[in-house]
């Protein structure tokens, strides 16, 4: 079972929460989220708005702002997040390699956690 928590979220947090709720409706997305542990900070550099997603084996907490020392962090604007939301690993990797999306921390975990956030098309 996957539980997604997060109240009074900023727009970015709400977007992430809505996408994750959609994502766990399918079994693959649910399994990914269930087996994940770590934290991911997403920042929109244009508006400087951040949200943190904390994965704890099926319990997912979304909160405003960034935490110190997350497992991974990613800085991406709406369009870049949209590209990543294709859910394709190759697209996500391309975003990172071309520098469209700036990432820090454990990149392997980042790609795994991103797949839990963005529903596959």
């Amino acid at each position: 079972m996957v539980v997604i928590k997060g109240e009074d979220l900023n727009g970015l947090g709400q977007i992430i929460k809505m996408m994750m709720i959609e994502n766990i409706k399918n079994e693959k997305g649910r399994m990914l989220a269930q087996n994940e542990k770590g934290s991911l900070v997403v920042t929109d550099p244009n508006s400087d708005v951040s949200a943190t997603i904390i994965f704890n084996n099926g319990e997912i907490i979304i909160q405003n702002g960034s935490i110190s020392r997350p497992t991974a962090s990613v800085a991406a604007g709406f369009e870049e997040l949209a590209e990543m939301s294709s859910g394709k690993l190759i697209t996500m990797a391309k975003c990172l390699i071309t520098g469209k999306v700036k990432a820090k921390g454990n990149l392997f975990k980042l790609l795994r956690m991103s797949k839990s956030v963005f529903p596959p098309s």
Binding site: N10, G11, Q14, M18, M19, E22, F78, S85
Partner: protein
């Protein structure tokens, strides 16, 4: 001649702009296919607007239809997406002083609906947003 926002004339003008746009036709060919792609925009009072206004527009395959602007929910059709915000902020969007995507990320506007579909069709949503300031517009309270 400027068209008042909000008004039925403005709703008609944006629908025409969408239907004449090559960009929305290109990026929106999958929009509304297999899902409800209609939007209801809720405009809260303030900054010259006395009462709430609603703008409904059906969007499918890059084309707009049923563009209706009224002080009550203008149709019994269930919208696929609802975007809500204050009139003062809508003015900034329509006049291109504020980016719609940025406003959604900041939480200035709230969105109800499948955000994944919006994200996967971001180029279409962006193309529609880019058309908002192509209509010569006048505003309440100015």
């Amino acid at each position: 001649m400027k068209v008042l926002f909000p008004s039925q004339d403005w709703a008609g003008a944006i629908a025409t702009a969408i239907n004449n746009s090559k960009e929305t036709a290109e990026h929106g060919k999958n929009w509304g296919v297999g899902f409800n792609g209609s939007f209801l925009f809720e405009i809260s009072p303030g900054s010259g607007l006395d009462n709430k206004m609603y703008f409904f527009m059906d969007l499918k395959e890059g084309k707009a239809s049923d563009a209706l602007m009224k002080p009550e929910v203008p149709t019994t059709k269930e919208p696929g997406f609802v975007i809500s915000g204050a009139y003062g902020d809508w003015k900034l969007i329509v006049s291109s002083q504020l980016d719609l995507m940025e406003a959604i990320i900041k939480g200035t506007f709230t969105v109800r609906g499948d955000m994944g579909k919006i994200m996967r069709n971001a180029k279409f949503v962006r193309a529609v947003a880019n058309l908002l300031n192509t209509i010569p517009t006048s505003y309440l309270g100015e």
